[in-house]
Symmetry: C2
Subunit: 221 residues, 2 copies
Amino acid sequence: MLRAMNIAVMGTGEVGRTIASKLVELGHNVVLGSRTGDNPKAVAWATEAGDRASTGTYADAAVFGELVVNATLGVASVDALKSAGEDSLAGKIIIDVSNPLDFSEGFPPKLSVCNDDSLGEQLQRTFPRSKVVKTLNTMWNGLMIDPRKIDSSHVVFLCGNDAEAKSAVRRLLESFGWRTDEMLDLGDISGARATEAWLLLWTRIYAATDSGAFNLQLARV
Amino acid sequence: MLRAMNIAVMGTGEVGRTIASKLVELGHNVVLGSRTGDNPKAVAWATEAGDRASTGTYADAAVFGELVVNATLGVASVDALKSAGEDSLAGKIIIDVSNPLDFSEGFPPKLSVCNDDSLGEQLQRTFPRSKVVKTLNTMWNGLMIDPRKIDSSHVVFLCGNDAEAKSAVRRLLESFGWRTDEMLDLGDISGARATEAWLLLWTRIYAATDSGAFNLQLARV
């Protein structure tokens, strides 16, 4: 059992709110961080989510959280977390679930960074005193926090430079319902290049099958 | 049942030889094309593969084949097929199974083209009178030609601009053992951006699990 923590969830979109709600449900105290702090979606969320839920600026959330989840738009994540303050994030785990999706030319999106760099690495370089762990970015948010929506086994990747941070994230994933044999550690944070690039295929599969309610499974010989 | 055809397989590496052997086994006549035409690996392959197997230059193979399989190294594919001759390739289906892997900085590889372009698209642009269909590039070659090595269902993608060409490729995939419900059409040839980008993740999974004998399956809610 994971002890109750103070957690900052950065980003008030569907992904951020879904994860924040799950964390509250699991007994954690959550500040949902936004640029202005009084983002209407965040306020509505906090009202509904109950006593352990509140809102604040990115900076408020960063001070509050022992653990930080980045669920801001990938193309804006570096700036969002910069505005949270490097000192407030120092020493903390940043769980990066975002993807650097560039919709400027429509759907399917391109990636704003890829192949020889990644958002995960950009965050780790920008916040060298934090421990960035990339995970959960490869699937629909409904599965992130409730993997047992799928009967069979499926995969969640994680990568990052700090082994202890990855262990802590594994425990959090377990509390979400992930089985340890479903977690695949891709090594250091450069693995984010790989899991972010999967979005190029994910979005095409989504378009071809008209559904995002799937995840990747490895079929083995 | 697919009628026996004359097929050119470009590239004498493991992928090319594996596909060429399967095609011979299925009753097709195959020329394994290489730069020099007397590539020792190609000659050894043809000796072993029997009467329906022979070797030639890329140009010889292109003249011979009603259907052309590109299994050359991705970073060299455009030049290899250029040397085969645009006129000889005109009107024909080019099944592109290659990936633009760039190992110049070691493992894991980067892609020499990706995100907003792909090898599949480069080939289609270079050979506008040919019909490029990208398929099979997302997995180990042992699975390409024997998908039933895996008990459960798994996925093969295809994409290309010509619907008839994709239908013909579907029939060929079926003759390899693929079930129609395992084939996922990603639309036009720009889908190659997505399936080629999967190699960034494929190679990391390969490294993390110490095995390439897997394929992607879609687990659904």
